[in-house]
């Protein structure tokens, strides 16, 4: 991934903040729905939930593209000065992996659906091509892959959120507040 050589911005753009939280909420919701729905006995409700989960996944995928395009044109603010080098590297690696998984998770779900013989049609209107032939063994394998990628992402999201909270409470820098500006305003009022 290459970013423009301009100087880092002093703050995130509103668009970057909006996309971050929109995708964060959508990811948590869609992940939770996935965990809940897959154990349900077959029912019309289950079929509906599966469709909603798939529509949400496609939507997230599109927002992630939008986000990446925005990110390539707008450098994020620099990490706080004085942060240990290994932490900065770890943060960078985590962010890159999160971007990767934000693409890989929906794609693995789409491929899994294809292999299981259930086409994905966005909001029941826009059909996505089935990239794989129906193959139940491959479908089961891709289900494992989808699950593994999801749990990896969940772990990284927890690490990411934990690090942000640690920056806020222990390091007392602006790493969290620059992504949550209302926290900074509140702090200023007190």
């Amino acid at each position: 991934m290459s970013f423009p050589d301009s100087l880092p911005a002093s703050a995130y753009t509103r668009t970057a903040i909006g996309l971050h939280w929109l995708i964060a909420l959508a990811l948590v919701g869609t992940f939770g729905l996935g965990i809940y729905m897959h154990e349900l006995p077959l029912s019309p409700q289950k079929l509906k939930l599966y469709s909603w989960h798939k529509w949400a996944g496609v939507s997230i995928f599109l927002f992630v593209i939008l986000r990446l395009v925005w990110r390539l044109g707008h450098r994020p603010p620099a990490l706080p000065a004085g942060m240990p080098r290994w932490q900065a590297r770890l943060a960078e690696g985590t962010h890159h992996l999160l971007y990767l998984l934000m693409f890989a998770v929906p794609v693995s779900g789409w491929l899994m659906s294809s292999a299981k013989g259930f086409q994905t049609v966005w909001f029941g209107v826009l059909p996505l091509p089935d990239l794989l032939q129906k193959d139940s063994e491959l479908g089961d394998l891709l289900q494992q892959v989808h699950m593994l990628l999801n749990f990896s992402m969940a772990g990284l999201v927890l690490a990411h959120a934990g690090a942000a909270i640690k920056h806020h409470l222990i390091d007392r820098d602006d790493v969290l507040t620059r992504m949550l500006p209302f926290l900074a305003h509140r702090g200023a009022k007190q």
């Binding site: 077959l42 019309p44 079929l47 509906k48 469709s51 299981k116 259930f118 049609v121 029941g124 139940s136």
Partner: protein
């Protein structure tokens, strides 16, 4: 002149051959036959098929009205698109295969429509319910066998297939598109 002669020869051979080889297709060929369907789930088509079915056919193209056919489907042999679906449709709400293992169609009349097409009418029994059913069938004769092809739309609610929580057509549509090919050979 030559064409006239050859057509005369052809007609002559047909005239002599036809009565001698009056064919009646009676031997059902399970391996060459198929019974598939498409249903809509959340408005998306899902393919399925029945793997085990039998037919008794007696079809003489010279006397189509005398055709007799009986058709039996082992409902438990369904592939409804996924293992979950197969387990579900065997249950009480759908086919209730324990109590009603077989669906049956018995012809009552066959009327020629021209161009090797016939209107086949009969009684369809599924899940303890018997209803009239009519569908056009195309007959293709090739070698010593004939294939009977057709498609029809069956409304699952007519036979209470998919009852209870499934009765609403929002998730699984009422119309099931059925496609069949039955092959029978002459003796």
């Amino acid at each position: 002149m030559r064409t006239t002669l050859s057509s005369l020869a052809l007609i002559a051979s047909l005239l002599t051959a036809a009565p001698a080889h009056a064919v009646e297709y009676t031997q059902f060929q399970a391996a060459k036959s198929s019974l598939s369907f498409v249903y809509k789930q959340m408005n998306l088509p899902v393919d399925g098929q029945f793997k085990s079915f039998r037919a008794k056919i007696a079809f003489d193209p010279a006397q189509p009205a005398a055709t007799k056919a009986e058709f039996e489907i082992d409902l438990a042999s369904i592939d409804a698109g996924s293992k979950d679906a197969n387990d579900e449709v065997a249950g009480k709400a759908w086919f209730n295969t324990k109590q009603f293992p077989v669906a049956k169609f018995v012809t009552s009349s066959v009327k020629p429509l021209g161009n090797n097409r016939y209107e086949v009418a009969g009684k369809m029994s599924i899940k303890g319910k018997t209803l009239d059913l009519a569908t056009p069938v195309t007959v293709t004769q090739q070698g010593n066998s004939a294939s009977f092809d057709g498609s029809l739309v069956l409304k699952r609610a007519d036979y209470a297939i998919g009852d209870g929580i499934w009765a609403d057509f929002g998730t699984v549509a009422n119309e099931i598109q059925i496609k069949f090919r039955l092959v029978a050979s002459s003796k």
